[in-house]
């Protein structure tokens, strides 16, 4: 049982780390699927 838990934890940690590492890639892919001009820009976005 402890080996299964260890294996499950390994999968969980690796999946989380891979997601964080590949987040820029996933963000770029999801951004490329968006239609231009449909984003919701928060109020005061350009104020900083």
């Amino acid at each position: 049982v402890s080996r299964s838990i260890g294996r499950g934890l390994s999968y969980l940690v690796l999946a989380a780390v891979t997601f964080v590492l590949l987040f820029p890639l996933l963000y770029a892919i999801s951004g490329s699927l968006m239609r231009p001009g449909t984003e919701q820009v928060p109020a005061g976005a350009a104020s900083l």
């Binding site: 390994s10 999968y11 780390v17 891979t18 928060p42 900083l48």
Partner: protein, 282 residues
């Protein structure tokens, strides 16, 4: 010698000749369109050393190298160690974690420029979720250099993971012997893995240091050397003096390039002199 001739000719034409020409150009002043005109000897080196901005440029260069090399090595090692897990899909994770290596500098820099956007960027979005004040990642002089370094670390990480994973795969199976001797995980990493991994670590230290000292694309796309010159490294200063706003000061830029070459050679020699004796070659 005959068989070496094509390689020597190509190396000579595209590597050694530009190097010689750079040193040559550094001894000449340039006219308004950048043609070498008057022989000035080492005067441009003197002008460079007397320049008050050179110190800031050198500090930014060294800080940027430190902020890039150390995190990319440490994170690369952690990820490579994680990838030693004995699970079925480990090859998939290995491939995925090496993916940032396939990114071009320009693509990564554009993605990080969107992340750092003060209004709609992801990083400020996270800060907003935590009810923290937004940060001007690329507009605040004290945050800009670390922000560019984060993008560089991400770019470098895939290669480091690849090399360190290969290094870990090549370590002979002496873990079993260590385990039988009663060594725990951390002790095995410290006394078995790290010493046997030193050739890969040393190789990456030298290579990532040189790559970070020569970084240009991410600085140009993210900050253009600003704000307040906080991200102007030596390479960016070379570009700025040669090509930005029609500066065309190729003589001074060549002198800067010669200084950068000397710095890279000195740092690499110091790394070999100080650290190579601690590398455990099997």
């Amino acid at each position: 010698m005959l068989f070496l001739a094509p390689s020597l000719a190509l190396l000579g034409l595209f590597t050694f000749w530009p190097l010689v020409r750079t040193f040559d150009l550094s001894l000449y002043g340039s006219d308004i369109i950048g043609r070498p005109t008057l022989f000035v000897g080492t005067r441009q080196y003197g002008q460079l050393l007397a320049s008050p901005t050179l110190r800031d440029t050198l500090i930014a260069t060294v800080l940027f190298a430190g902020m890039t090399v150390i995190p990319s090595l440490v994170l690369g090692l952690v990820l490579a160690l994680l990838l030693q897990a004995r699970i079925a899909a480990i090859r998939v994770f290995r491939t995925l974690m090496a993916t940032p290596f396939a990114f071009s500098v320009a693509t990564a820099a554009v993605i990080f420029a969107i992340f750092y956007n003060p209004g709609v960027g992801v990083f400020n979005g996270f800060l907003q979720l935590l009810h923290l004040r937004p940060v001007g990642w690329l507009t605040n002089p004290s945050a800009a250099l670390p922000s560019v370094a984060i993008a560089s670390v991400w770019l470098q990480l895939g290669y480091n993971v690849l090399v360190l994973s290969a290094g870990l795969q090549a370590i002979p199976a002496i873990y079993e012997a260590a385990r039988l001797d009663g060594a725990r995980v951390l002790a095995m990493i410290r006394h078995v893995t790290l010493p046997l991994l030193t050739p890969s670590l040393f190789f990456l230290l030298v290579v990532t240091t040189i790559v970070s000292l020569q970084s240009f694309g991410q600085i140009h796309i993210l900050t253009r050397g600003g704000p307040a010159n906080s991200t102007t490294t030596l390479v960016y200063a070379i570009y700025y003096n040669s090509f930005a706003f029609g500066n065309s000061n190729f003589g001074l830029s060549s002198a800067m390039a010669a200084v950068l070459f000397a710095i890279v050679v000195a740092i690499t020699a110091a790394q070999f002199g100080l650290l190579e004796r601690r590398v455990f070659y099997r």
